[in-house]
Symmetry: C2
Subunit: 718 residues, 2 copies
């Protein structure tokens, strides 16, 4: 236990204090006073209109955010958001990822491959009434089905407008629903990326760390057909003309200056109950750490001295390590905070408010207690749930499951299908079947699965899955399991791409007759899995009744205290604001808000990830600051810290000044902020941005991207 | 290579800029203006008188510094300086080291055991002329002998004054000599030490680190006979009444405030030549790192699952780890500085100055070149020198060497003996023979020796020692060596304390007849060793001619530029001044000058070294700052950084304010400062002090040492 927690008076954590808050654009007029007090100079109301400047300039890359920065469809985002494109475009002979890339003109811009998408939000409709109508009468399972059907119907209707993708978002745990319609641009091209060890300077070592010196920026361009409409890649396509784009301000921002970030934050848990916080931080995250470590060990053991296998699992290993560091950051943050005590105190205060008057009591009496009870019920099977999920850790087993499920779903009308098996998602499933080989090695796959099965076997017999036990002859324990798995891996043909694609077209009958052991297992488990899914859907349906009720209580309570309340992040477009500001991560140390060019030279080793191009090092050694210097730090600012409230998905978001001009890109948070997904601590939660002045300095001096500077409105002659 | 070095213009490093300088007290009037400009409020001349306040209050503990802080002989120094005393006084039943100790009154104060010494400097005489007279005529060996004889004569004459210890110090590499006379108080008692994890909070983890939160202070008291003269411990002794003592200022100091440190810094190499810098940092330190790592490995291997052996080597392991971290700090500091380039530039400039006029040339023409040539000559045998030294790594082998050498030295008149074998040092030799067992395990000793011998065998045959090779039958390599060593360890009786003490009285003849294999080896090697020693003495004598000449040149050169010049540290009393000041260890990070009580709670784990007493944690948790708080940091300052120039040996030095009042104790330097022994970099060189306000806070609130607060003149009622 870290004792200093006790120092903090146990104050109730009320959202929307200070710079906390990932606001829905429509909410911004509500917090107009705070925005103006912090320094916003434009009308807050202008930020709430999604089809106006500046919000219309912000786009969604799916997992990353980005923005238009020229009238010709030029898009700026993080280098780590275009990383996959650079990998795709690189060859051993021409390694764009390593060396960077700069198209000399439009003709040289490179299509980033199929599946690339830029989505521009064109409409957001409040559909709460339509979605929630009549739900109160239904039990969990029915409620779940009803919502899912309405979701599918609305999305289908919305997507009848060609070239658009639609999505139903639930806010406040299902209290409100919005249907978001996005224009989907399908021809995206690589325009400019700095060298790898500028764009990814510091690599995994510096990930989540401060001080930071990462040039995490790159440029795409969106193209459309000659008719101006979304089109697949074609020579004849032309640059997309966005209705609005962000103006780039080479002046940047000073310490203390107003900043604002618009983008698509993924997920937060700021309104989760104490019971959920406790379960997550004392059980889920520690279990996850253990499981991650175990998997890394197994992969390490079975890829040792096998370079090919190592490469196949490099991406998974990187992902696990990254998630592991994140999870540890969560746990560290939890350990030094009194989050749980504060959640409990908040719930106590909420309950007191509920009981403070007959009218309130009547409306909200059991909302907290009911939700709490459901959470406890759900948690009671957590160990089994975890182990059953782990059983799908074999790529072959999960592929077989997908194939058989696909054959069954195909027998239904599209509207009745599980959403991920609807026709609009078939290309994704096919792509997954195609690229499986690149990340699959039978020995590693088998070892991971074997480990999961051994752990599963620790469940009491009555919690195990009879179909699974029978199929793998687990009745008498794991004796002989290795040999049986070996046989399955020998016999299966699911490791052949053509065979998988063939099976994707098969009927249930054909698959049921298959001699492939993994297909047979998938068939054997199908009923159990569907039953389990139905049960989970029923629980989900129950949550869909209780969570909105609880959130309604919470919102009323918080509003009774005069607070505007933002919803948890859900991958929908949000706005967060704050100021440029350093912080003290611990007693005796201060993190300054800006890093400088010279810090790159301090970290320089000549070896990755600290190996920027020689030219950059020469410029720094010569003290070549040029026109993008910041007087107060006597250098070009590389990265900066701010108090804005962000999370994963915000990567690539434009950072705007008080006039909504581009002055940087959000690309990370500090290690001390990881925990802010659950608990925003204004003393230590900081986002990390790449400064526009560094972007422009690299473009002008390192990469001679003068024509792009002109396109950005920052020509050398200015 | 760290590239940022190139950024720094290669400026010549001139000593005595800014706060650099470990000044001899007599030099202080020379830098009066700088002292006053930095903030000194008393007359600088008063600091140059060793028998006056405040210098007379500063004492020497041998390896540590300390000071009188009451008229009753109360002495304050670092906790790590009294650590050995606390170990000596601790028993499993009453663990003073762990729990701390506070004597309720004089009667409860505990004698810290034989060998304890407090030395008060009473006289410093310039004896340069006496020492150097006629040396110019002599060759290296003669010169060495003449200096050593004069040293012994002067020390003997000086020590005829009972109760005094004298020492001849050479300054500027032998350009000046001073004879220092110290009153030696032999009855020293433990008065007060805080609990271990206050006094050593952070332990090895925080060693050399910032931010720091270590309560590194403790109190002794010096006693004398009823007649006021130095005496061995006796019940009838009374507290020593120092002529002067430091006044304690509970106000402490602010950021930017003047501070001054007086104490006994051990050794620095600020005037070493580029050739020596290069050799040290590109050969000696890297070799040392390798050797340390190897020894740690061997000890680890041979103490594994052997708790007794582990305990015996714990101290050596700790020492090696500490030295290893220091060496790495040296290398890191070197890597990020351009020290070597600057030394070379300095020497170039010096040579240009030498050649700038006929008079200068006449006097100094070859001083740099001659010294450089001697250095190169010495370095030509560095590998052999290193490996021969390593051969003494066996405690048994070195003990045998000491015993036989002792028997031979005893045959000489005392004045003719090698200084360490003079009668005044016999108690030390005996003590070493007595305590050997506690740090010796035959298996580990043998393994370390075996490793050293195997390395030695890589020397070309003509560089090896025939006597050694013959004795260990190494003619055909190391085959059978293990077995031969095993036999030696079986046969020897040097592992018996009584036997060792007996042999300490033996004559050469008796030892030459001994059947103990280690004694036999010592006898066999004696002539070789003496010849080697004579050769080293001759080189040393040559250095004694060339180094002073070089330093004279350097001093004249620097003075021609208007600079006062301090000599390298040599364990003599020095004064350094500066200001309280944080720094930036690297881009984007600032180390604040003060740490706070709350930082202790941040680091708290409940396990050593972060396990302060529960009472302290309660007080911190309650925000109990009391009267010793510093407004600007809203807490009690625990440790602080300053720009003073210190090194090992300064530990325990009082930190004084502008009025020469006690406001803390020097106890460490930052990791970035380790390299300052060679190269003072004002941007990053910082000393770490424990703040007097934290000392008083712990005494008042944690340990209720109210009577000591009264004795310090800081009673609770003030």
């Amino acid at each position: 236990m870290k004792r200093w927690l006790l120092l903090l008076s146990i104050f109730v954590c009320l959202p929307a204090m200070s710079d906390e808050g990932m606001w829905m654009p429509i909410q911004l007029p509500e917090i107009e006073d705070e925005l103006r007090a912090t320094g916003l100079e434009i009308d807050p109301a202008s930020l709430s209109k999604l089809t106006e400047h500046p919000m219309a300039a912000v786009v969604d890359l799916g997992g990353c955010s980005a923005s238009f920065v020229s009238p010709n469809g030029l898009i700026v985002t993080n280098h780590h958001c275009v990383y996959g494109s650079l990998q795709y475009l690189s060859t051993p002979e021409k390694n764009l990822l390593q060396d960077g890339f700069l198209a000399g003109d439009l003709d040289e811009e490179l299509p980033i491959g199929p599946g690339s998408r830029v989505r521009v939000t064109v409409d957001v409709t409040d559909v709460t009434k339509k979605v929630r109508k009549g739900l109160d009468e239904l039990d969990g399972a029915e409620r779940y089905d009803r919502i899912e059907r309405r979701r599918k119907e609305m999305v289908a209707a919305c997507e009848e407008d060609d070239g658009h993708r639609c999505r139903l978002f639930s806010f406040y745990g299902g209290l409100q629903y919005y249907l978001v319609k996005q224009l989907e641009l399908r021809d995206v091209r690589m325009v400019y990326a700095p060298a790898l060890w500028i764009g990814r300077f510091g690599g995994d070592i510096d990930n989540w760390m401060w001080p930071r010196h990462t040039g995490d920026f790159s440029f795409y361009r969106a193209y459309v057909g000659a008719d101006g409409k979304p089109a697949d890649h074609a020579e004849s396509n032309v640059p997309y003309k966005p209705k609005h784009f962000l103006k780039t301000s080479p002046e940047g921002v000073e310490d203390g200056g107003f900043v604002m970030v618009t983008g698509y934050p993924g997920s937060t848990g700021r309104y989760r109950l104490a019971a959920e916080v406790e379960n997550t931080f004392t059980w889920s995250y520690p279990m996850r750490r253990k499981s991650f470590d175990r998997r890394l060990e197994i992969i390490e053991e079975h890829t040792k001295d096998r370079p090919d296998a190592k490469i196949k699992y490099a991406s998974m290993v990187g992902g696990i390590q990254n998630a592991n560091k994140n999870t540890q950051g969560m746990l560290d943050g939890y350990a030094r905070s009194n989050m749980l005590e504060r959640r409990r105190a908040l719930e106590k205060e909420l309950q007191a408010w509920i009981e403070s008057s007959p009218e309130i009591r009547k409306k909200h009496e059991s909302s907290l207690r009911d939700l709490e009870a459901l959470i406890k019920e759900q948690q009671s099977t957590r160990e089994r749930d975890r182990l059953l999920v782990a059983l799908s850790r074999s790529t072959l087993a999960s592929t077989a499951g997908t194939l058989y499920r696909m054959s069954r779903e195909k027998e239904l009308d599209d509207i009745d299908r599980e959403p991920s098996y609807q026709e609009r998602n078939w290309p994704r499933i096919k792509a997954r079947m195609q690229r499986m080989d690149r990340r699959f090695d039978p020995r590693v796959d088998r070892a991971l699965w074997h480990d999961a099965i051994v752990q599963y076997m620790e469940l009491p017999a009555d919690q195990r899955v009879p179909e699974f036990d029978k199929f793998l002859k687990l009745g008498k324990g794991v004796d002989g399991l290795e040999a049986r798995l070996e046989k399955m891996y020998e016999k299966t043909r699911l490791d052949e791409q053509d065979h998988r694609l063939e099976l994707l077209e098969a009927t249930p009958k054909q698959l049921e007759a298959s001699e492939d052991p993994f297909i047979q297992l998938a068939v054997a488990l199908y009923d159990f899995r569907r039953a389990r899914e139905a049960k989970q859907e029923a629980i989900s349906g129950e949550f869909n009744a209780l969570r909105p009720a609880y959130m309604e209580t919470m919102l009323e309570f918080l509003r009774s205290k005069g607070r505007a309340v933002y919803p948890d992040a859900n991958s929908s477009l949000r706005v967060t604001y704050g100021t440029v500001k350093g912080y003290s991560p611990r007693d005796g140390i201060v993190y300054e808000p800006f890093t400088r060019l010279e810090g790159i030279a301090e970290k320089f080793t000549g070896e990755e990830p600290f190996a920027p191009p020689a030219k950059q090092m020469e410029l720094i050694d010569e003290g070549h600051h040029g026109r993008f210097s910041l007087d107060s730090i006597e250098s070009v600012p590389v990265n900066f810290l701010s108090t804005v409230d962000t999370t994963g998905g915000n990567s690539g978001s434009p950072t705007l000044n008080s006039k909504a001009e581009l002055i940087g890109l959000l690309f990370d948070g500090t290690y001390d902020s990881i925990n802010s997904d659950w608990d925003f601590d204004e003393r230590t939660t900081r986002a990390i941005h790449v400064d526009v002045r560094y972007m422009l300095w690299v473009m002008e001096h390192v990469d001679n991207a003068h024509h792009l500077l002109v396109e950005l409105g920052v020509p050398a002659s200015m």
